[in-house]
């Protein structure tokens, strides 16, 4: 039922899906991950350039998908590079999607059990999350998009609110000098920053779901979809480093939550704001989890040309098991890095190769 493409989404829904997909773990860990590489206050420039790199990759992905406007990546890649190779790449992409979905679930469980639900067993945090996700996805892409449309404005408003409340402990000196040690340190951070922008790859599938008249807008969609998270990330990095300084960020496991815990505003109805951040963050993780889960099930359904539901239920235990695999938090972070590297190959190298091949083929024909 849902593996057919009857479900349609509008361009603005597509934008919101990309935004919600991109915003996830990065909000909490990007300041530390990038400072580790850069070691100067120029991190925000790296993040900015990382976003630009992601935009370029995003545009390539869209261009590729526009070659086959009515098919998803899983369907058209066999047209380009043949049945077996296409099948193999699809399988890799599917594996990538459900792995990332498991990763998000686990990160969510770690943070919640640390900051919110101390003493609650991990399975009790993960299971409702998985079930609610399953419930949502069984409604199809349009249902997902409508939920994301609700999540996004809430995220936007609350995020800006808490970010600017932290201005009280912001010190501009922590962000100076700009490019004091030249551009080399800043360049080192671009890869890490780019990995925080995982998400435009969903356009491999989304273009097929857009209304035929809107398909030409897909480039604009992906650019807007990356620009807004870019803004979020730059604000986060600037605020966190401005308050905690480079050295202070380096040793923090979750620097952004640390920032929110570092100030209290007496007199307002709320004095403490980290729970606000966690609320929107969990919503964002949920969004990323559901869209990747959906992408993986859709892939399986289209690969085997079957109905989506059996795959949906079948993937659930697999996601749970993968989520529980990393032994400790360091393992989990390394796991995240590995997913990132897989993404660089799958969505950096593969789409442009496919695009070139299809162009060449097109000319021949």
């Amino acid at each position: 039922m849902n593996s057919t493409l009857k479900d349609k989404i509008t361009p603005s829904q597509a934008v919101v899906i990309i935004i919600n997909y991109i915003l996830a773990t990065g909000i909490l860990t990007l300041p530390r991950a990038s400072v580790e590489k850069v070691k100067t206050p120029d991190v925000w420039i790296s993040v900015f350039l990382g976003g630009v790199v992601a935009m370029i990759a995003g545009v390539i992905i869209v261009k590729l998908s526009q070659q086959y406007p009515d098919k998803t990546f899983y369907q058209y890649n066999q047209d380009i590079i043949g049945k077996w190779l296409g099948w193999f790449i699809s399988a890799c992409v599917i594996a990538y999607f459900f792995t990332i979905s498991a990763f998000e679930v686990r990160i969510m469980a770690e943070v919640t059990s640390l900051f919110l639900l101390e003493g609650t067993p991990t399975w009790a945090i993960i299971l409702p999350f998985l079930w609610v996700g399953l419930y949502l996805i069984s409604g199809g892409i349009n249902t997902i998009a409508r939920l994301f449309e609700i999540i996004f404005p809430i995220t936007f408003v609350i995020f800006l609110l808490v970010a600017f409340l932290s201005l009280g402990i912001f010190e501009i000196d922590n962000l100076r000098p700009v490019l004091g040690l030249g551009v080399v340190p800043m360049l080192k951070g671009i890869k890490t920053a780019t990995l925080a922008f995982l998400g435009p790859e969903i356009m491999l599938l989304l273009v097929a779901f857009m209304y035929p008249s809107d398909k030409s807008k897909a480039v604009k969609v992906v650019l807007a979809g990356i620009a807004i998270p870019l803004l979020f990330y730059v604000i986060t990095v600037v605020m966190v480093i401005g308050a905690l300084s480079i050295e202070g960020v380096l040793t923090r496991t979750w620097p952004t939550i640390e920032l929110m815990r570092s100030f209290e505003i007496p007199g307002l109805i709320f004095e403490r704001f980290e729970s606000f951040l966690l609320v929107i963050w969990i919503m964002q993780i949920f969004a990323t989890f559901t869209i990747t889960y959906y992408a993986a099930s859709l892939g399986l359904a289209q690969l085997f040309k079957k109905n989506m539901h059996p795959f949906l239920y079948g993937l659930l235990p697999i996601i749970y098991i993968i989520a529980m695999t990393p032994k400790n938090i360091n393992d989990l972070f390394t796991f995240g890095d590995k997913i990132g590297h897989a993404a660089l190959i799958l969505f950096g190298v593969v789409p442009i190769t496919l695009l070139l091949i299809s162009k060449l083929k097109g000319k021949k024909a």
Binding site: W131, D173, E258, S262
Partner: protein
């Protein structure tokens, strides 16, 4: 197919609601002992328990930790009879060689569940700070989740646990310290608050810094200058008194409000200047290997009090004269503070290194390892510019 799907969904909703009932590990507020302040001291006296004696034999330093608890029994509304308890707080001490095990040993003495989410202050005793690396002492506080990084840090002259005592029955000393800290807006003799969050950056950047010093006299807690923590060793180096702090505040531009007291040259009577705004700019100069600094201080304010009978504030001549007096006084304060930090303690606590880092990052990279040493030898010039805007409601 559709029927099955519907059933599955229904089942999902049912299962989720089962797990979402909440209160999984709730804690009743009546059963909590809220920790509002913690003090840490070096223990040099006799020890009793086997654990402590073992530590002593192994030559490990022992610390005494005192937690200030506020419980439902210490607060007035908590007691059923409405009778006033003797004290609004309850201090519990315990000794050990690491922080958390010592805190856990308090379980043996306290009936309430300790809860540190509302911890406001951490006070470290003089002896402990000068013997043990702060990063080690505070590791637990930086790591523990229940302790918020918005808490304030103090150094206590003598015993830190004394700073958590008061004679007044209704006061909670930990809260008192936090409120006293707000006075920093109105005087240059109190440092801007140092939170645990800010401390972290300071500790890991190996730069020297100041912590507000607390002293106790006759059961009265008082802010008395600042403690210098040396960046390299992260131990207490020495103390600055209140007037040194004034100099530091002028240098680093932290003077948000406060007074400058000068004396009229002719009559020797006091004139008092109240700061409306103060700005300072530390400008580094690098010529080859030679580093030097210029401090430019600009302040606006008003005459808040003057005892000079011969002059009137309506007279611009007098204002000019007064400005000169204050400029001199501020320069004297700055010089004095510089002299102490540069020569007596040889530590940079007023952000000169930071300015060098910003303006000459490459020079800083080379010099940062030995910065405190370098700082003690650099020439520093000081320019002060005071302008008096008004003189209150009396023109006399």
């Amino acid at each position: 197919m559709k029927r099955i799907h519907c059933c599955v969904r229904l089942l999902l909703v049912a299962m989720v609601t089962l797990l979402l009932t909440g209160c999984w590990s709730s804690k009743e507020i009546e059963d909590l002992g809220l920790i509002v302040g913690t003090s840490l001291d070096l223990e040099t006296g006799d020890v009793s328990s086997e654990e402590q004696q073992d530590a002593r034999y192994a030559n490990r330093q022992l610390l005494t930790i005192t937690n200030q608890f506020v419980t439902s029994e210490t607060t007035v509304s908590g007691t059923k009879e409405g009778a006033l308890p003797e004290k609004a707080y309850k201090n519990v001490s315990e000794t050990g060689d690491a922080v958390l095990p010592t805190l856990r040993n308090m379980l043996l003495k306290v009936d309430k569940r300790s809860f540190a989410e509302h911890s406001k202050v951490i006070i470290i005793g003089e002896e402990l700070a000068s013997n043990i690396n702060l990063q080690q002492t505070l590791d637990f506080f930086l790591r523990e989740l229940e302790i918020r990084p918005s808490g304030l840090l103090f150094i206590a002259q003598d015993q830190a646990s004394q700073a958590l005592e008061t004679n007044e029955p209704t006061k909670i000393p930990a809260f008192q310290l936090v409120e006293m800290m707000e006075g920093h807006e109105r005087t240059t003799k109190i440092l801007p608050p140092m939170t645990v969050a800010k401390l972290e950056g300071k500790l890991y950047s190996d730069s020297s810094f100041l912590l507000q010093n607390v002293s106790t006299e006759n059961g009265e807690v008082k802010f008395a200058g600042a403690a210098i923590i040396e960046g390299k060793t992260k131990k207490l180096r020495g103390f600055l008194n209140e007037s040194d702090l004034e100099g530091i505040a002028w240098m680093s531009g932290d003077a948000k409000g406060g007074l400058v007291k000068g004396y009229d040259e002719k009559s020797g009577t006091p004139i008092v200047y109240e700061i409306i705004s103060a700005k300072s700019k530390i400008i580094p100069h690098v010529k080859g290997e030679q580093i030097s600094f210029t401090i430019k201080i600009q302040s606006e304010g008003r005459i808040a009090e003057h005892w000079v009978l011969s002059d009137k504030a309506f007279d611009n001549q007098f204002l000019k004269k007064a400005e000169k007096v204050f400029e001199k006084e501020i320069e004297r304060l700055v010089r004095k503070a510089l002299d102490k930090t540069q020569h007596e303690f040889q530590t940079d606590v007023s952000g000169f290194g930071n300015k060098l880092r910003i303006d000459y990052p490459k020079v800083w990279q080379k010099r940062k390892k030995e910065w405190d040493q370098t700082f003690s030898e650099v020439p520093i010039t000081c320019e002060v510019n005071v302008s008096i805007k008004d003189y209150g409601t009396s023109g006399d």
